[in-house]
Subunit: 170 residues, 2 copies
Amino acid sequence: MDSSDETALHQDAALSRTRLALWQKLQKSASVIEDELRRRLRRDCDSTLPRFDVMAELAAAPDGLKMSEISDRLRVSAGNVTGIVDKLAEEGLARRVAVPGDRRASRVELTEKGQGAFAVLARIYESWINEMLGNLNLDDVEGMILRLDRLVDALDTDEFGALSRKSEER
Amino acid sequence: MDSSDETALHQDAALSRTRLALWQKLQKSASVIEDELRRRLRRDCDSTLPRFDVMAELAAAPDGLKMSEISDRLRVSAGNVTGIVDKLAEEGLARRVAVPGDRRASRVELTEKGQGAFAVLARIYESWINEMLGNLNLDDVEGMILRLDRLVDALDTDEFGALSRKSEER
DNA sequence: TTTAATTGCTTTAAGTTTGAAATTTCATGC
DNA sequence: GCATGAAATTTCAAACTTAAAGCAATTAAA
């Protein structure tokens, strides 16, 4: 092994360490923000993050979504979606609609009440995010989006099982 | 309201939207990576992410940590830490040590077996991260670290309750 | 057809996580 | 001393999650 090989190895190792540090910061940021969102949703809106996430997916899908589509997009188990949708339905925020031609499946959609409730929630939610990310300026935000897009592309591509489905399906 | 006010408002609204988009990407990246780590830890190492996280904190603290310190640093409930440490202790990977002068508290530290086990885990873990973040080069990584540091600083500063404790205590 | 395989969803059991008591110990003021 | 409040953990119940099993309906094959 000559010295240029050694240098290359050393650089690889250093980059690996730096990537690890990045992951730790990414993880911490995400969990700090998520915890705070959870707390505020519970405290101020009598709701939860999983419910908000499901409603957000439904609000973005004018024709509703099948249970399996919700489960794929949010990357949570099918059984879990059943429970969340059950509760939204109990509260009159969402409903299951029969799919003509397939009696196994059902489409889930927001009720009018659900749409109204989500519209309120979404505004508050965005303002919270805007507050929490308040010290990142436009350049920062765009720079990070650029790099995260690249990261997500790689994660989707790199086989990582169940998680690539989302982009494949679109 | 004159036109310059309107422009300013519009820019604020646009920035708010962009920040929201950033958060969504951040959240997705983190959860995709986390899910994959969870899966691999279970499949290849017969372990879990919370256990790994606790061991990592302990490994980085030569004198061990109090239960409350673990709970603060990982931002999980105190009751949860009790359970995780119980299991690590059962398996001989960690132990509780009495704190002289305070019979309420106990200090948790890795056993030698625990240190050995963690050393192995940590190498594998870093290689996984290095693989998953493989398409981010040094510039990307450093650019993101820079911005995430600023974000974390703001999150710590901005009162956000329980979450600022970590940095305050150091 | 009849059979087999797949799909979409729900149910169940087991394990996590949390938030709120409950417990024990420490610290302080009186 | 003694009472009161705070601190460090643990216990406990409720909510959430997942993986696996189960069902019913659909599709494909023989």
